[in-house]
Symmetry: C2
Subunit: 420 residues, 2 copies
Amino acid sequence: MIAEIISVGTELLLGKVVNTDTTIVAQALSGIGVDLLYAATVGDNPARLKKAVEDALERSDLLITTGGLGPTGDDLTKETVAAAAGRKLVFHQESYDRLVAQFPGREMSKNMEKQVWLPEGCDVLLNDNGTAPGCVFTTDKGKMVMMFPGPPSELVPMLNNYAIPYLLKGDEAIIVSHNIHIYGKGEAPVAMQIADLMESANPTVAPYAKEGECFVRVTAKASSEEEADEMCRPIIEEIKNRVGDFVYSVDVESLEELVVKELMEQGKTLATAESCTGGYLAKRITDISGSSSVFETGCVTYANATKEKLLGVKHETLEKYGAVSEQTAREMAEGIVKLSGADIGIGITGIAGPGGGSEEKPVGLIYLALSDGENTWVTARRPFGRRKNREWHRFVAASHALDMVRRYLEGLPVIGEDSL
Amino acid sequence: MIAEIISVGTELLLGKVVNTDTTIVAQALSGIGVDLLYAATVGDNPARLKKAVEDALERSDLLITTGGLGPTGDDLTKETVAAAAGRKLVFHQESYDRLVAQFPGREMSKNMEKQVWLPEGCDVLLNDNGTAPGCVFTTDKGKMVMMFPGPPSELVPMLNNYAIPYLLKGDEAIIVSHNIHIYGKGEAPVAMQIADLMESANPTVAPYAKEGECFVRVTAKASSEEEADEMCRPIIEEIKNRVGDFVYSVDVESLEELVVKELMEQGKTLATAESCTGGYLAKRITDISGSSSVFETGCVTYANATKEKLLGVKHETLEKYGAVSEQTAREMAEGIVKLSGADIGIGITGIAGPGGGSEEKPVGLIYLALSDGENTWVTARRPFGRRKNREWHRFVAASHALDMVRRYLEGLPVIGEDSL
């Protein structure tokens, strides 16, 4: 099956919004073995969209559109696609009722109704996160057309929960993927360690880079889920053996998810004291639903006075070594354990940039400490390689702290060999 | 001038890499008034690339390609584009010398040389950050073709330093855009308020949705920047009048950027006490470089005990009204002002979900308080309309808190009319 994506939106052609929709859909299609050969972006212009749709229906089996399903006048994807495919739009009562139910006790603005006019005979893809339903239909020439809303928060659940299962209906082969998540080792060295495994055709083995991390996806195709799992298992074990304790999970998607899970299992609590990350670590931990049972206290101590007052960092330490120092990180971690009574405390202090760096303490230098009340481990992340920005330094510092907690909870050396 | 981008790379169609190149080029073109009408992505496949290039040369005046200029066998953009445009590739001595100079004292791998075979008669676009030069030439039919390397670190300087100046030679029309940012009113009702303005052709007026916010872009084309600005001004004023104090900025991109700027200007400091947002508000404030001068202290008080201990929330308040209540939010805001000595304190407590909701206190119910030590304002955001997820509730609660600070600093009613 050959697929093609058309993303609709003038904002994409003005460079106002990065087209992540195409990446999201491309990943999902690649995961179920659909070949995506073209991706096009067109503005909110009926004539150009019509031409792109006609081209796509000519050369591809599956046309996917993203964007342009909303209530305003420049949302014209459904109208244009339906016309190009020879369908008329009809009022869809069930979707209208669902829409109205989303505005209990409030008046819905009149233009909302436009969203529930759908191609005749289509199947509706529910929008669990927004007002515009998606839809799927097959043209008279046997081409399948799927339309999705543009915002990723609406697209992702619609794709995963409704569209992919729809596409998989009737296919007998089952595809199973497992992701091996790795922190502390990059995509390139991992790829070299597993180069021979990457030549396998089924299961396939492919490494991917992720912000400050990487993961290896192992995908098998078989006649049942069990069989596909069975094919993946020895490969996963082999990769774990080769990559060692840099592997932090199989299929647990993020360090924060893993750490919250392990803290819950061990009945331990965590507290954070953050300077340069400014709450980013706490934010990532509390992204995880249920984290309240293991995370009770976080402090963002940007100012020195606050470091002293809340965490008990010694005035002399700040004077002598500076706020960005191994010693301050250590006292922050020890201080937050005392303040919160948590089992594990994290202290982070560093220079996120773009300002504030010096030759001795460059932008990107970040000290991280973990204390359990008895022992404290401190490490430093130094900037290296390509130039990175504030967001990157802050994100990766939080990741590194989470990895330290993971290592502590798993009884591994808290400071991995790649550090310092 | 009508432009078109073709991004080349199978990795883009597998969803391994997000296509930021298109966004980067689109922004640059929009900035100089070139109309980008199409963007296409094709894999490393000569036949499909050739077809895409032929289509582009037919309908557009300027074809820009990104990617596929490197040394390996699947880098085939130059070969394919040159063939489609009827040009042969010739060895470019000057680029070869520059390439060799990049490997002082080291042997250059043989396949590197492929990169300096360029379309006959082209102008070279220097690559200050990599080995593959870009190029520009005009076809016999008068169409301009520009080719860029794929990595953004190479593309960006080549585009800004060489390609854009090249394109600007001899052009008179200037395009200016201004964005009016709005919090507390959605895209649909804003669109209805400004429907008549949206019909104007120059300046153009178009509303866009953004996570929990929206903005209206006003774009004018004129012979000078001043003239274009002059054309935008009355429209911007009219939109501000109609939308009222929901407009938080013209051209300041985010609430956190605006709030940090205004705090700096007024010499005031802010402190935060967060429960359900778990540090998200602090994280967003400290995303802004320089925020350390106005933001000294943040507390994440997930547990009741921590709310009492750090912020001095009364035990009876928590017992009687619960952690998620107007009263607790109020005491959190007042407590963080006392603890930190900041001018303004924010307290946030609510139910981010997906668990923890009840009929009385549903997921999405969030109380927000702002205290200046003398007065305290409290409001509630109740879930309505579309079902939203944890990330959404947390993000929007932080936005709402930022908007309260903005309103306080600007002397507006701290609680906007859309609230509670």
